[in-house]
């Protein structure tokens, strides 16, 4: 059995570990077009902020490939797949046969078609090369386009390096896919308090300058700057999948079944490149976040190695930890309006609790959690994430879930009620004590 893994980040590494947990002998060839192996993309803002050196960006030790007996081709890009002959071809021209193939090619940072976007000093932040480029830009005044997670973290990173930073977002709030308006306004105040200038409701229309960027123009204002970070979004990198003939889903990611297999037999997909069933939205979605990539990679690897494992479905979740000195987490859907995915006859409820520095919100659909936001107080958030992923009715437990004294003990009745859903051995272990 020959395994070929295209990709070298979370999903790929997780898949490889899963394969090796059941198959210690078969050949595994891994191809990553990044020249720096095993670094965590989630940490790139910390590298740009000069808070972490390159070795500390690693999520596995340098001897990982040797330890797991992987033939790792670092810096090698796979350019085409022949599903009939079951081979992949590298940019070097070499071909490699496979029995099972994993597409874990991640996403591509979107480069918006704005005049002047190709000027010097304008960069996305996705790859190590991007991070190094930004690190080496000798600017003093930065503009960040897009206030999603990457945009906000990039803005803070550049601020921490002593630059003057303006964050420009076309929608009416920062972090529009992560938080609702109220949570976003709290976060915006925090980052403004740190020194970032935040402009919402403005779209960048032109990057001005003579070869080197000198300013960003929006409809309303013009911001002087000597460097620009583009953080307007990421699209699944499906080029290879498309060429291989696998079906691409409605959300732009490679379609996968619950075993993480694509529409082509023997070809699997996991991570930011793929589409999975989103439990909270009740529809296929691309949830391009680290925990999902890791879990999907694991399920893909197990199935590739012949062990039937089922991916229960993804959810979106984001956590801003200590990076802005103020914790905030969000999972699932954030606005009831997002529930255009909801069927007409379902009941959506929103429960909120706001204090001066904290904000908590739970969104229920027919009594089941489909979204939650925690700002300022995030302890035990995992209990809600789990209840959301399990899609169990929690209506009578809402006061406990909203309380800052929430404890696992509060949800024991839910465990007792749904023994067929809470099947993990650890739950059984606890319930067996007689609780």
């Amino acid at each position: 059995m020959k395994y070929v893994i295209v990709g070298g980040s979370a999903a790929a590494v997780s898949a490889v570990e899963a394969i090796r947990s059941v198959d210690k002998k078969a050949g595994i060839d891994l191809f990553s077009d990044e020249k720096t192996p095993l670094f965590s993309r989630v940490l790139l803002p910390y590298y740009v902020a000069q808070q972490l050196s390159k070795p500390l960006l690693n999520f596995r030790s340098a001897d990982f490939f040797d330890e797991f007996d992987i033939s790792a081709h670092i810096g090698v890009r796979i350019v085409s797949i022949d599903p009939g002959a079951k081979t992949v071809t590298a940019g070097t021209g070499e071909t490699f046969p496979y029995d099972r193939l994993l597409l874990a090619t991640g996403g591509n940072a979107i480069v918006p078609k704005i005049p002047g976007v190709d000027k010097a000093g304008v960069s996305t932040l996705k790859t190590m090369a991007d991070a190094e480029r930004i690190l080496n830009l000798s600017g003093k005044r930065a503009a960040v386009i897009g206030a999603g997670s990457i945009g906000v973290e990039s803005a803070i990173s550049l601020l921490k390096r002593g630059m003057k930073v303006t964050l420009i977002e076309q929608l009416g709030q920062v972090l529009p896919t992560v938080f609702d308006e109220e949570a976003a306004s709290i976060i915006q105040k925090v980052i403004e308090g740190m020194g970032v200038e935040v402009i919402t409701g403005e779209r960048a229309t032109e990057f001005m300058g003579n070869g080197q960027v000198r300013a960003v123009a929006t409809r309303g204002v013009t911001i002087d700057c000597d460097m620009v970070v583009l953080a307007v979004g990421v699209r699944p990198a499906v080029e290879l999948g498309r060429q291989a003939g696998v079906e691409i889903g409605m959300m732009g990611g490679i379609k996968t079944d619950p075993h993480m297999q694509t529409t082509a037999p023997g070809i699997y997909a996991a991570g930011d490149v793929c589409e999975t069933f989103d439990i909270a939205r009740n529809t296929p979605f691309v949830n391009a976040i680290w925990p999902m990539a890791f879990e999907e990679g694991r399920i893909a690897g197990l199935n590739m190695a012949g062990h039937r494992a089922v991916f229960p479905g993804s959810v979106r979740m984001n956590s801003i930890g200590n990076f802005i000195g103020f914790p905030a987490m969000s999972m699932g859907v954030t606005h009831p309006g997002e529930c255009s995915y909801a069927e007409a006859d379902c009941v959506i409820e929103e429960i909120k609790d706001r204090t001066r520095n904290t904000y908590k919100k739970i969104i229920l659909k027919n009594g089941c959690i489909i979204g939650a936001i925690f700002v300022g107080q995030t302890q035990k958030a995992g209990i809600l994430t789990t209840l959301m992923r399990k899609q169990v009715e929690v209506t009578e437990f809402v006061p406990a879930l909203m309380s800052k004294n929430l404890s696992f003990m509060d949800i024991l009745p839910i465990l007792r009620r749904h023994g067929d859903i809470f099947t993990e051995p650890e739950y059984k272990e606890i319930m067996d004590t007689g609780l």
């Binding site: 925990p291 995992g382 650890e426």
Partner: protein
């Protein structure tokens, strides 16, 4: 693998396990009177709540925190199977907090790490089990609850 079992009939909610965990494990001073005044305050890794019942990290077989940690800080000890936080590399992103089904990971802005029970992996025996005055907390071999191993 060895796991901690708590007998709910014997747990009186006295919080001794929490106190010992905080002073023996979490504190610098390793003595209760001095730990109380430590700044930042030591964080116990066991939670005595509800019925009452003492709840520690379950060191899950499929640990969501292991999958959520973006930089390899959350690790599993290959010898013991215990899941622990390798604190020097923790960047306090708290993605582990966001996924723990039992809510036993504490985000600590004071210590700038995620704090979790490591089952006293560097000691001989878990301190909560040792300290419990009613012997509600014991250590035993993990049962295999899965119907089919993979």
């Amino acid at each position: 693998m060895q796991v901690i079992k708590v007998d709910p009939d014997k747990c009186t909610g006295c919080h001794q396990c929490e106190l010992w965990c905080a002073s023996e494990i979490a504190s610098e001073a390793k003595a209760l009177p001095l730990s109380i005044n430590e700044e930042p305050q030591p964080v116990p890794r066991v939670f005595v709540e509800g019925k009452p019942f003492a709840l520690q990290c379950r060191h899950c077989e499929e640990a969501p925190c292991l999958y959520a940690c973006p930089n390899g800080t959350m690790r599993r000890d290959p010898q013991t199977g215990l899941v622990y936080v390798h604190e020097p590399t923790c960047i306090a992103c708290w993605m582990c907090v966001m996924v723990c089904p039992f809510g036993i990971i504490t985000p600590s802005p004071q210590f700038k790490v995620a704090i979790k029970c490591d089952r006293c992996r560097n000691m001989g025996y878990p301190i909560c089990a040792e300290a419990c005055p009613t012997h509600a907390i014991t250590v035993e071999e993990r049962k295999d609850y899965r119907k089919k191993k993979f």
